[in-house]
Symmetry: C2
């Protein structure tokens, strides 16, 4: 048994929660990896419909266990019951969405080119389909203990793709991770999934050992820039590099035009504060930068709104320390004015209040890297710009973001929209980025440092593509083809046949 343990703590009090959790030993990890590797070929042989049933079973089990899980999560994360209740619903909706994606079948990209012996050179019968990559290692996040954790979107999309999943739990909610893992494993077993389809492991060293093990064929991660970069380099530095999908840091700029300020500046100020302090500023889509036209006159409205935000616990002491030092670093810069210092909370635990700073566009453009680092937590920087071009230049200097938000009226903003969409995965119009709708059109990604791969999303129907690879079958007899490619289309898939998209016949 390992000497290393993880201990849950209540961020509201700093007190321990539950029993210490022993980290996974190398022997235990080897057994999990072996079981997953043995299961991979079994999973590949399952139909999308079978896997849809597994996901629905997991959703039902998580739903049934909701009150127990929410209570565990509340104690380990300090997040509120209503917030956690909403997140459980999102998590089960997400499992349900992937079940529908599986049943719809387009995700397989089944493509059939019939032979053309008359072509020069002759064209063979060629059929292409997406197949699972193999065992996926999922590093879970602290800030969404359900939606980006053990039963979250990465697990759901990898299982949907037909890949065994090994979850590396987050030390911020060890008890919840273990219990959710049991519920998921039981639900999968009850629905008929093979035994090695899913496992949860614990410990930093365990994660490093797993990501460099050749039985792992892909890895997903949601977390900090530093942690993600380190794991990305481990994945790329293997003797056999594997795909790595990291969702890292994002400043999520909000750009407000003069017309929007004129028309509804007060509401924008109030709603901006609500967005950057939502969940104590611990959303990956938290807006960290507010671009306002020079002379906007909204400072009082912003600080008044921030004053009404009650201090709340952050997810844990390390995140709280990073927030505190990030705020101190901003406060120490001469080119930055402090609009609102965070409330000093004189109690145990990881409590934080809202902080707001201001500077000018010229200062940001003079030293973008230093001013624009993401600071997790309820803190934001207000920047006055002189022209839309200058505001766009600031957004471009940030690198990639998960979102960019535009508050505007009926101006001609075609170039601004194009420029923002070049650096952000989602463009939000006259609304706020902190809500992430989970559906077919979702994209939750963006250029570095928002993610390590701008082609992919960690949320929404397309997320399972991360764990699928194409295979082409040339002149293979029908009896040996995967079901998706057989002449009689037994899975009733939409397919592309000789270049033409053919919808399923139902």
């Amino acid at each position: 048994m390992s000497a290393l343990v993880t201990q849950g703590r209540d961020p509201r009090t700093g007190e321990v929660v539950g029993d210490p959790l022993a980290e996974t030993t190398p022997e235990e990890l080897a057994a999990v990896l072996d079981a997953a590797a043995r299961t991979a070929s079994m999973l590949r042989a399952t139909s999308p419909g079978e896997r849809a049933a597994w996901l629905r079973a997991v959703a039902a089990a998580v739903d049934d266990a909701g009150p127990e899980l929410i209570s565990l999560a509340e104690a380990e994360t300090g997040l509120t019951q209503p917030r956690l209740t909403g997140e459980v619903t999102r998590t089960t909706n997400q499992l349900e969405l992937f079940a529908r994606v599986l049943e719809e079948g387009s995700f397989l990209e089944a493509t059939i080119d019939h032979a053309d012996p008359a072509a020069q050179p002759p064209y063979p019968d060629l059929r292409r389909v997406l197949e699972p990559l193999g065992t996926v290692l999922v590093f879970t996040a602290s800030n969404f203990p359900f939606a980006f954790s053990v039963a979250g979107g990465d697990t759901a999309s990898a299982l949907a793709a037909g890949c065994p999943v090994i979850v590396k739990s987050h030390p911020g909610h060890p008890g919840l991770s273990v219990r959710t893992g049991q519920i998921v494993a039981d639900a999968l077993a009850g629905a008929g999934a093979p035994g090695g389809s899913f496992a949860v492991v614990h410990g930093v060293d365990t994660g490093v050992a797993a990501i460099t093990d050749r039985r792992i064929r892909a890895c997903s991660f949601t977390g900090s820039l530093a942690g993600g970069r380190a794991l990305h380099e481990l994945a790329a530095g293997r003797p056999d590099p594997i795909p790595f999908y990291g969702e890292l840091g994002s400043l999520n700029p909000v750009l407000v035009t003069q017309a929007a300020v004129d028309r509804r500046g007060g509401d924008i100020a109030k709603d901006y504060v609500a967005s950057f302090t939502l969940g104590t500023g611990q959303f990956c889509t938290k807006p960290g930068l507010l671009l306002l036209p020079r002379g906007h006159g909204l400072e009082a409205a912003l600080t008044d709104a921030a004053d009404t935000v009650l201090p709340a616990p952050m997810l844990g002491s390390r995140i709280h320390q990073s927030f505190t030092s990030g705020v101190e670093a901003l406060a120490g810069r001469t080119e930055i004015r402090r609009l609102r210092a965070p409330s000093v909370v004189d109690r145990p635990g990881s409590w934080a209040g809202a902080a707001l700073f201001a500077t000018t566009a010229a200062e940001v453009l003079a030293a973008p890297e230093q001013l624009l680092e993401e600071c997790f937590g309820p803190v934001s920087l207000v920047v006055e710009y002189d022209s839309l071009e200058q505001a766009v230049a600031i957004v471009r200097s940030l690198g990639g973001s998960l979102t960019a938000t535009l508050h505007a009226e009926d101006e001609d903003l075609a170039e601004t929209v194009a420029a923002l969409s070049d650096v952000a995965g989602r463009l939000v119009w006259n609304n706020w980025p902190t809500g992430v709708a989970v559906g077919w059109a979702t994209h939750h990604g963006g250029p570095w440092p928002a993610t390590t791969d701008p082609l992919h999303t960690s949320v929404g129907a397309s997320a399972l593509r991360r764990f699928l690879k194409p295979v082409a079958y040339q002149s293979v007899p029908d009896r040996l083809l995967p079901a998706a490619l057989r002449d009689d289309n037994p899975l009733q898939l939409p397919r592309r046949v000789d270049g033409v998209l053919v919808l399923r016949q139902d």
Copy 2:
């Protein structure tokens, strides 16, 4: 002007061809990168139909210049006129395919989720489309001076995606690269493409400077494992890592069952030799490993066929040296028998004859890495296996390949097919891997070391996906949406609307 120059040489004689070519200077590269960066937003605003016209103009120009280009290529590569003529056709067909892909429109993955205010939480209007990544750097290959070079598939697919392209020329055919570059640039300009859409640069240092420059947003490469790994690490190690698509080395195993040997062993032996010596063994799909059942009795047929293969020039002196030392290394191993030593060719240039070696499955499994390195050129290793399971274990020990080929009769081979498709991008049945059909169902990729990213192909309709990233638009007014997502569907695209695929209305 740079002091460094590249000099073309005729591999048939070793003589210089054409004038020395000055490498691109840092100042010239900076100008090219600036022009491309300025052009990126213009390209993004073009319609797929406009870009289809550009590709057709390039195809027509390459076709018109065919005789001149083939003559240049013959002198610099030693490839034959018929071989090069076929490759030019493939190259123009490839440009034409991407034009059709653009016109068909599915590649944009336009997806519209209408708002659902009654949902809990309310669902916003959300629309997703793929947009170009920005300037793409293309490292070209030596072995396909047209299809994988200046006007090749990477250039065609990146331009199709709407990305400016900067081609790093291959030193094996500098004169051809310059001339093809002029023809492509003129054709693009004539068809109305912006000036910075395309450029060719020269020199190893130039390539390294470009791949680490922040104006480059993605990179593709076709070449050696060592070169590809080094560039992959440069791309991943940037302050802002970018997508890197490398097609590297592949052994392309061929597995023959006992039934196939019994029925048509002689033909298989003859055709195998034709496949591994085609183009002097310089295809990325060259089969390097022939798995035959113990007691196959085909050694004489194989060596007889190899004896009839005339020596031919390899692409250049470095490739020839690698071939010679690779063959010597195989010949020096005690566990390997030499079936046929390559002919000694006593003449200047880079001439090579066929070489064939044999060993047993047990020897391969004892030291797979050492025995199974790809050796570019007309050399192959014959391995006797004792069971299909053992043969599959050998294939698995290779890592990824672009192709795996199965010669069989009516046995039940479902498990074998599944196992092969797990490690190869294309499964070829009773045929040979050296021909690559270019169409909608093409997949030319595979797990490491075949490529650096198993999700992507460098050939076929899906190749442009490497250069596109999703963007989601939330509640953005119709007038500011990209054309692909507007309510009236002005591009007449197939789209997914509220989860349902809707074909275009024509």
